[in-house]
Symmetry: C2
Subunit: 251 residues, 2 copies
């Protein structure tokens, strides 16, 4: 049996990430959420608030992945051009979504009313559906295999909650971690040998330096839980046979 692997890409849109002003948090949170859905994040591009850069990334990434997520650029101001750029990438027009207009009218009823700027947040590529935003009114957008999310991480988190369980995926990647107070270079051959002995399993080695000592965490990843268990058991046994003390769960 071959297992179908479901893949996603993410386009992070925003000058503030590329300038170093803002530390991105959406890559990690979307990656972790996707894994629970059984979808593997296989590529991320961070692009500026420029139409041609967004169009290029969107078209490259949506074509070769099951899903494309984007974050950023869906607010009310002049630098929020994501909707227009994605519509251009898809070759469709931009319309006001009636349900989004209704959501915004309700949200701003007690907040000064809807203005032209606020109505910008109801604009969607023609044919799109909405993703609920429980925090700040303006919804996310789904069109074809593209999911257009907010840039502000807690708003994105709410949109991910709204999407949970609604997108088809496969088997989630299982990961098992152990830690060892060892320089990874001392066990490099051992790691490679264990990985070669376990098909369908990847081992990552993540060194660190803490409390004046060198250590590393080793992460075994597989879509098959039994294979992941077998591999981590083998790796632990070989490290211990090599005289290393192993910390289950990582250090």
């Amino acid at each position: 049996m071959t297992t179908r692997i479901w893949t996603a890409a993410l386009a992070v849109i925003g000058d503030e990430i590329l300038s170093g002003r803002t530390q991105d948090k959406n890559v990690a949170q979307i990656a972790a959420w996707l894994n629970v859905q059984g979808i593997r994040l296989v590529e991320v591009r961070i692009v500026p608030d420029k139409t041609e850069a967004i169009v290029e990334a969107v078209n490259a990434l949506r074509a070769r992945n099951d899903y494309l997520f984007t974050t950023g650029g869906i607010g009310p101001t002049h630098d929020d051009i994501t909707v227009d750029a994605i519509a251009e990438a898809l070759g469709v027009g931009v319309v006001h979504h009636p349900q989004a207009v209704a959501v915004l009218e309700k949200y701003y009823e007690t907040r000064g009313g809807v203005t032209d700027a606020r109505l910008r947040m109801a604009r969607v590529p023609e044919g799109a559906g909405l993703i609920e935003n429980r925090y700040s009114g303006a919804p996310g957008i789904r069109i074809a295999n593209v999911f257009i999310m907010a840039g502000v991480p807690h708003i994105t988190a709410g949109m991910l909650d709204a999407l949970t369980g609604t997108i088809e995926g496969g088997a989630p990647v299982q990961s098992r971690t152990i830690g060892c107070w060892v320089a990874e270079s001392e066990v490099a051959d051992l790691l490679g040998a264990v990985e070669r002995a376990h098909e369908g399993v990847a081992i990552g080695s993540y060194p660190f330096f803490r409390e004046g000592k060198t250590g590393a965490n080793f992460v075994v990843r597989s879509t098959d839980a039994a294979q992941a268990d077998a591999c981590i058991a083998d790796l632990t046994a070989r490290l211990e046979a090599d005289g290393r003390s192993v910390v289950a769960g990582g250090i």
Copy 2:
């Protein structure tokens, strides 16, 4: 006078970033460092530890930017394939760099000696030079316009220090920030009008929600300090004329 804009791209290489296990910190630190060098980070791609993905990203990004930086995948273990993948992208072989061998021999003299695994960290694409690593022996690598850096952020920081002032750039982007306790949608038109009135200046709007209140920071960016100053002064004046209280430097 037209000002030459120097651009860089960054390829972040690592399954641990795409799995959500590790929060990337290199994008922000490299972006900030590049700006001081007068180089603009215009695109980032995060790719897995897979040769074909690295080759594709490296070749796309190095061709259309003045510089390409990579982070990750230069350690001693089997999942460290960056050097081989970049050599393949450049169409050159992989050799042991004599100076890197000497550095590693010295570093490991009191740490158990050089092993085959450790010698992997002296492998470079043929024709490459080294970037000093003051922390952990294994150097970074420069070949043509490609700079191959560590994945561990503090080691990358040391390599950036070693490169400071050695790479040609242009005028750094100047940024000026003000903050306002206002929903960005209330001043969206004003922001757009100010940006249109100041050529060569971009204004970013970054909303937040703190202490139960909505606010936004507005960041003016330009390579011309005088233009940035004029724009932030104009923006401040128009916000104040609109009855807003402006916090210099941002909130």
